[in-house]
Assembly symmetry: C2
Homo-oligomer: 208 residues x 2
DNA sequence: TAGATTGTTAATCGATTAACAATC
DNA sequence: TAGATTGTTAATCGATTAACAATC
């Protein structure tokens, strides 16, 4: 029986299970055991069962988990069962690369606009969307019901953009700028810091 | 006195301290307390002291930490005190965006080549480097003493690329492809999974 | 010196692992 | 049924926080 809240590491793993299950499903299997998930993800079978148990009882002793129902349940738990609108702010190289992702044109996510503050970019197309003036962000996201914002601006602009996003009704932000953002009231932020990752792998370089 | 090994979360924070110290140094301060670091990073003062204590005693009671010496010491601990050569494999949108990063043309990192397996890309320039045939990777990285590899290929190619990198003497890999790589013997891999991050923020969207 | 701040120890908190009774 | 595998409990492990004596 699901007791309190699931720990964050569990949530991260949930998305790994989801990817694993999609693949297993595509392969046509309709059942998988926690041991099978371990084999494919490297996450131990006990951990898998523990993680899932935060959300309910999905398996049958002796049989394992029915792939498709579990996929459906986990998608629902992760709130990936209805389309989410996304905007990207910062139409530089990284913003453009992310805007091109097929994953942002899927049944789960749809990219509705990109924004920049650079006049020479505003009005131009970026893949299949238009680059808009960032000052229009709150209005546009409000009108369209955008729920997710991706920040790919330089560090200096990030905090201001986060606040515009909050104004525009966005509640979840993925921040790629190399700076700490103070979460506007009511928003969740996840940070992806590419230079930090690069520095961290240096630490793990073999010591001379 | 530094006892055993530092936990991984500590290493991640080290790179945050480093960024903070660089900024503080640029502002011309020459001393900072753990409380000052807390103010700028959000990491509690006690945590800061604990983290640093895994590596030595860097502060003076009553005074705090001398910024420049600490910067030097931490850079050394993180192995960021001499230049590291980097290659990128996968010259798609993301690879191109990362290859354009100024941080890869710094005193810490230098990008020496990009690789792809697509004949129409091989031989073309990508920013200031040339796109080479991925089959040449082991030879080139070996010759040039490349230590870090960045993978921005599709999932299917990632494992093979990691093995080529290992052959070429690369010991640390940053993997952006959405798949689990089994580390070749002697290599460390860090994974950055953009679609996963996007899925995870959906979990934290306000529940209806 | 007195005030400030470190480094470290002990207490707490949280997550992972091991193990097994329940059950398909 | 017998074998397999779940969900869960208890034990372990590891990281964070609180607190304070040492000391600049």
């Amino acid at each position: 029986m699901p007791t309190g809240r699931a720990p964050e590491p569990t949530v991260l793993r949930l998305s790994i299970y989801l990817r694993c299950l999609r693949q297993v499903h595509a392969e046509g299997l309709d059942t998988i055991s926690s041991a099978g998930i371990q084999e494919r993800t490297g996450i131990t079978a006990g951990q898998v069962r523990k993680d899932l148990s935060y959300f309910g009882e999905f398996g049958k002793p002796g049989l394992g988990y029915a792939v498709e129902p579990l996929l459906t349940r986990l998608s629902h738990i992760m709130q990936l069962d209805r389309p989410r609108k996304v905007v990207i702010v910062g139409a530089g190289n990284l913003g453009a690369a992310l805007a091109g992702y097929q994953g942002l044109r899927s049944s789960i996510f749809s990219l509705v606009a990109a924004f920049d503050n650079n006049l020479s970019k505003i009005g131009r197309p970026l893949w299949d969307v238009e680059i808009k003036d960032v000052r229009e962000l709150p209005r546009i996201t409000q009108e369209q019901g955008v729920e997710i914002g991706i920040i790919t601006t330089p560090a200096e602009a990030a905090q201001g953009v986060a606040e515009l996003m909050a104004q525009g009704g966005i509640r979840s932000i993925l921040n790629f700028s190399p700076t700490r953002i103070v979460s506007p009231q009511g928003t969740t932020i996840r940070n992806v810091d590419l230079m930090k990752e690069l520095e961290v792998i240096c630490f793990y370089l073999p010591k001379p």
